[in-house]
């Protein structure tokens, strides 16, 4: 409201409509749209990983912003078949409402996964295997994923366009330079690029944007009986936090005073010091 008043005052002095002064969310949004448009132009075939969580919903929303209400590439849900029932219902509802081209992928049983990983990480690694199979099957050159730098220190080292070589591995010692919004493109057959349009967003930015835009979410994010989920993984490796925040505004208020990390409820992050790095080098998000 206040903004409109200021704009009209500007108008009265110059006689011309003035652009809005961009706030932090406007800037994050504009940058993410730029990234999504680069990906769509440069990486074909392209798809977007839709985990049904809050971040990937924001990402789908940003894609609709970038492409005037459309998502002109498939969205991919790599199903561990261990998600919460609410998430499957949400997926089916918004696939229709948002007119999404949904691709479903499935994960191999846990017995087929590297037994040297700690138990929860081993379970999480199923998703990596399922994702790899989907990328190979559809020969994707670009995969858009909703990771953020503030979630986890290893993710903080990521590029916006992050090349994955043979076997989908992340070569963390040898990342390409990335500056001035000039991004890496695939230079070898069999490579793909992980595109990270939300890298610069923080958890609280995501929630404020959800509030501003009215982006729908799975109910699990909101408190019931004093608990809510802050981050959603598989049922067996995600734990709810103590909270009474039952609306987006209350979640934002809670985050403004919170000092614990978002992934505190993700079991695999706490199993050993380097487990997340090992997962990510092998292709985990």
């Amino acid at each position: 409201m206040t903004q409109t008043r200021i704009l009209s005052r500007d108008q009265s002095t110059t006689g011309l409509a003035q652009p809005r002064i961009m706030d932090d969310l406007d800037q994050l949004e504009a940058q993410s749209i730029f990234i999504l448009r680069e990906a769509y132009r440069k990486l074909k075939p392209l798809s977007l990983l839709w985990s049904l969580g809050k971040d990937s919903n924001v990402m789908v929303w940003l894609a609709r912003k970038a492409f005037m209400g459309h998502v002109p590439f498939p969205v991919m849900h790599v199903d561990t078949e261990k998600k919460f029932p609410e998430m499957y219902a949400f997926r089916d509802e918004y696939t229709k409402k948002w007119n999404l081209d949904l691709l479903l992928g499935y994960c191999p049983p846990v017995e087929e996964i590297d037994p040297s990983l700690p138990p929860a990480a081993r379970s999480a690694a199923r998703k990596t295997a399922g994702l790899a199979a989907m990328i190979d099957k559809h020969k994707f050159r670009g995969v858009i994923a909703g990771i953020r730098r503030d979630e986890q220190a290893t993710r903080a080292k990521e590029r916006v366009f992050s090349p994955r070589g043979a076997g989908h591995r992340w070569d963390v010692r040898n990342q390409p330079p990335e500056f001035w919004d000039q991004y890496a493109t695939p230079y070898e057959d069999g490579m793909h690029i992980r595109v990270h349009p939300l890298l610069a967003w923080r958890e609280i930015d995501i929630w404020r944007y959800i509030e501003r835009e009215g982006i729908p979410l799975v109910d699990l994010y909101f408190a019931k009986d004093g608990k809510r989920y802050r981050s959603l993984g598989d049922q067996d490796i995600t734990n709810p936090i103590e909270s009474n925040a039952s609306t987006v505004a209350e979640v934002i208020a809670e985050l403004e005073t919170s000092r614990t990390s978002e992934r505190a409820g993700r079991a695999m992050d706490h199993e050993s010091e380097d487990v997340f790095e090992r997962l990510r080098v092998a292709g985990y998000l």
Binding site: Q18, R20, M22, D23, D24, E38, K157, T260
Partner: protein
Amino acid sequence: MGDNIVTESFSEIHRAAATPIVIVGHVDHGKSTLIGRLLYDTDSLQDGKLAQIVESSRKRGLAVEWSFLLDSLQIERDQGVTVDSTRIPFRLGSREFVIVDAPGHRQFLRNMITGAADAEAAVLVVDAKEGAQEQTRRHAMLLRLIGIRHVIVLLNKSDILGFDEAQIVKVESDVRQLLGRLEIEVEAVVPASARDGDNIASRSERSLWYKGPTLVEALANVPPPASRAALPFRMPVQDVYRFDGIRYVAGRIERGTVRAGDRLSIGAQGQVATVAEVCRWHAPELPVAGAGESIALRLEPDLVPDRGDLLFPADDKAAAPERSARIRTRLFWLRGEPLRVGESFTLRLATAEHDVTVASIDAVVDLEDLTLREGDSVPPDGFAEITLAASHAVLFDPFSPGFGDGRGVLVDRYQRIVGGAPLIGPAELADGEHAIHPTASRVSAARQVQARGHKSGVFWLTGLPGSGKSTVARAAELALSEQAINATVLDGDTLRAGLCSDLGFSPEDRHENIRRAAHVAKILAESGQVVIVALVSPLQADRAQARQIVGENFHEVFVDTPLETCEKRDPKGLYAAARAGKIPEFTGISAPYEAPVSPELRLPADRPEQEAINTLTAFILRIVQP
């Protein structure tokens, strides 16, 4: 007055974007420790973080190692070196910052650029005892090239000097002089100890003589980014879409504002269209958009611009960008091999891509004293000023600090970013200079591999006359062709019969002969061919030049047949003629042959010839087969 009121009332509701601050400096001068201290002192650590660091430090037998906060990768902690830049948000009062930690190790320059390129301000950490070091100068140079306007110097570890005023003032003056040479304005020079917290967030009791700001005060004083809205409009076209029967010209505004009804010029072709509508999805409807916004335009007439076309105000010469096919630019060079004149690249400028060739290297920065010197190549991680020649006129705005445009990057045939190029302006043609504008192939190396089924390469066979170079080369050519590999032999006598028929055997002519052969080999290799060069090429320096011309595709093969054997074989009767004095400057007899010190392949003479052929063929196959 009226403006002030607007600004004040606006600031109450406006949440500014976080200000990115990059921390740079020589390795071990204490960057990561500083960041840990800043986060701790400003109470920006998450619960559990501190415990995690204490635990990681204890495991490695260290006292509390602040840098572990940032060095999240196992290799970083184990080696005690930051490998890649990282970003950490923190808050001072109501203002948000993002700290970028950039590694100090020389070989990690590209990671540092990745972190630093968008920073608004920089903290240059200098060890108070050691003073500016090689990486300090390198990083300072980079801060200038990427246009960071606000630089704060932190004289870390000042406790080692006991915060002694005289010694610290001396270091301060040295650092100021260095940065002055780069035309960098220093906001503050803060004597501090990151480990102990002196003059970081709170004023130190140990430096009562110091009246300047603490680091936190200096950061709080960094002004917000300058507005780009008042400048002439610029939008590089990012893409053109058609949804629901409507054509959208999509892009991000780099400068200025655009309104429905504005008349815009499109790219270098100079077509003009009117903005019919400023389009957004799920956003307040406004007929105007400003710098930084990602929008879509509907144009009237409904033209289809190309990606990279710059949109700018029509009918106003003063508001038009520069236009030139020759551009002077600064350069930071990231490739492992030096840059040389004549190399071709793609210049990516915002969303545009232009074929360019390095027309001249005008000056190279000497990193000892940061002066500009003449030079004919730019070393890895080096800085220079160069002139780029494009195949057509390029529209651009010269780079200025704080602006997103005018910043090009150079991309090689392998789609790798090899350099950053802040544009200076159009280049004048010097007297006597040829206005050549070579063009580069648009077929990428990967595409050629796909089309041909194999990679290209130049295999340079050197050896005495009569050592068997041509024989082995021709036999390998045949063997390769049987495996569907496109191979060509450039052999000395064949070249001298045609392309080099004007040349004799003086050292100068031999040099020229090799130069020409190398360029032909390069052209063939760039077209995807496997090239086997069979040339005596007796001098190390000449072969080194050939390697420079060809680049990383160059493979030296030494046909190591001893003089006695060659002379005994003497297939062309040349040794006999040379011994008789009929051939002056004959390699091996009356002219020197410098054997390669470390060829990639050596073909010894004491084996049957067929074995040499097989070895060479297998060597080539190993390199060119995908």
